[in-house]
């Protein structure tokens, strides 16, 4: 099914559109919101937008997961030509490996940020960044 808008296929470019929308929502939350918890949520939304973008760039139309399971190989002898032929229908594995790293790092960043937020709340009894005065310079 093809849905065209400004000469762009909406269904196919939906992944790009979603990724950009997630990045913008995350940036909006980081720049505008006053609550520290909401800022941390914005950071993790930004993270997931970038992850989706990387995975989308690595996608190949009709491609399968880059796993050489027995049902993919089907008793073919393991020669260079056979493997090349199978791997043509596979998506790019490198963005997936990079995103695996990025998810873990994003998790670590969120955990440390939330613990800092807990500490700030304990000290100031508020989460509003306008009321945490000694952050200003």
């Amino acid at each position: 099914m093809e849905m065209k808008l400004f000469d762009i296929d909406i269904i196919e470019y939906g992944f790009f559109i979603t990724a950009i929308a997630l990045v913008l929502i995350g940036l909006y939350a980081v720049l505008i919101k006053k609550s520290l918890i909401k800022i941390v949520i914005g950071l993790s939304i930004l993270d997931s937008g970038i992850n989706l973008l990387l995975i989308t760039i690595g996608y190949v139309k009709g491609g399968t997961a880059p796993v050489f399971s027995p049902s993919v190989i089907k008793d073919m002898p393991l020669t260079m030509e056979n493997i090349k032929k199978i791997s043509e229908g596979m998506v790019d594995p490198i963005p997936q490996a990079l995103v695996l790293t990025a998810i873990v790092i994003g998790f670590g960043v969120t955990a440390v940020a939330l613990s800092l937020v807990i500490r700030l709340y304990r000290h100031h009894q508020t989460l509003n960044i306008d009321q945490i005065k000694n952050l200003k310079w």
Binding site: P66, F68, I73, P93, A97, V112, R122
Partner: protein, 231 residues
């Protein structure tokens, strides 16, 4: 005023980002002949690892994964040092949840199954989609379920740090063995076996099991610290 300015800025940013991305054809091969083909052919032929992502994460970019595990360790340590006031004094749990009988009984029943699933995922990381990070996270969710269901459930800090250090030392030691026997750090020096066997791929399953144990212990420690934070 600030809100309007930010929205205008974000709209401009979004339009330029969209223009740049829509120049790419969706779902096409951008890199005709390159590192993708090399990884996809070297992984089943040379390393005998079915899951190419695992081969990249653990073998081709193994040093990067060692750094990643270190970052996770750093996150746990810094969270502990930020949240604790006294030195290693665990107070009474401050974050409590009221759980009904159904939740407590059901989680006791589900806990071994979740741990088994996590272990399966990280042991078969080189054959099926999944691996150390995913399996470790599943193990940690099992502990999270128990911590939510029982307010007096205790996880031993000593056991967690022993598992974590042991796994980290295993990873680094295998890397050093590769330096001695293969010529470079984290070189695959063991025989690689047959594709799609459980024991195949040389050092890759050993490293991924170590990563799984480390990630499981670290995430469990993170959850436990967050639930026990002292006032």
């Amino acid at each position: 005023m600030k809100r309007i300015l930010v929205i205008a800025l974000l709209v401009v940013f979004g339009i330029y980002l969209a223009q740049a991305l829509f120049m790419l054809e969706f779902g096409q091969q951008f890199f005709e002949s390159g590192v993708k083909d090399l990884y996809l052919t070297a992984s089943p032929l040379k390393l005998k690892v079915a899951n190419t992502v695992t081969a990249i994460v653990v073998n081709f970019r193994g040093f990067d994964t060692l750094g990643e595990v270190t970052v996770l360790f750093l996150a746990t340590t810094s969270m502990a040092s930020i949240l604790y006031k006294g030195r290693h004094k665990l107070g009474k749990r401050t974050v409590l949840f009221s759980a009904s009988n159904i939740v407590t009984t059901g989680s006791k029943f589900l806990f071994p199954a979740i741990i088994l699933l996590g272990a399966y995922v990280f042991i078969h990381g080189h054959l099926t989609p999944g691996g150390g990070f995913q399996g470790g996270t599943i193990v940690a969710t099992g502990f999270l379920l128990m911590l939510l269901a029982y307010s007096d459930y205790k996880v031993s800090h000593i056991v967690l740090s022993v598992v974590e250090s042991f796994a980290g030392i295993t990873f680094a030691t295998i890397g050093l063995f590769g330096l001695v026997y293969g010529g470079s750090f984290l070189e695959n020096f063991l025989p690689t076996g047959i594709l799609n066997n459980l024991v195949s791929g040389g050092v890759i399953p050993i490293i991924y099991i170590a990563v799984g144990l480390k990630v499981g212990a670290e995430l469990t420690g993170l959850i436990y610290i967050a639930l026990n934070e002292k006032d």
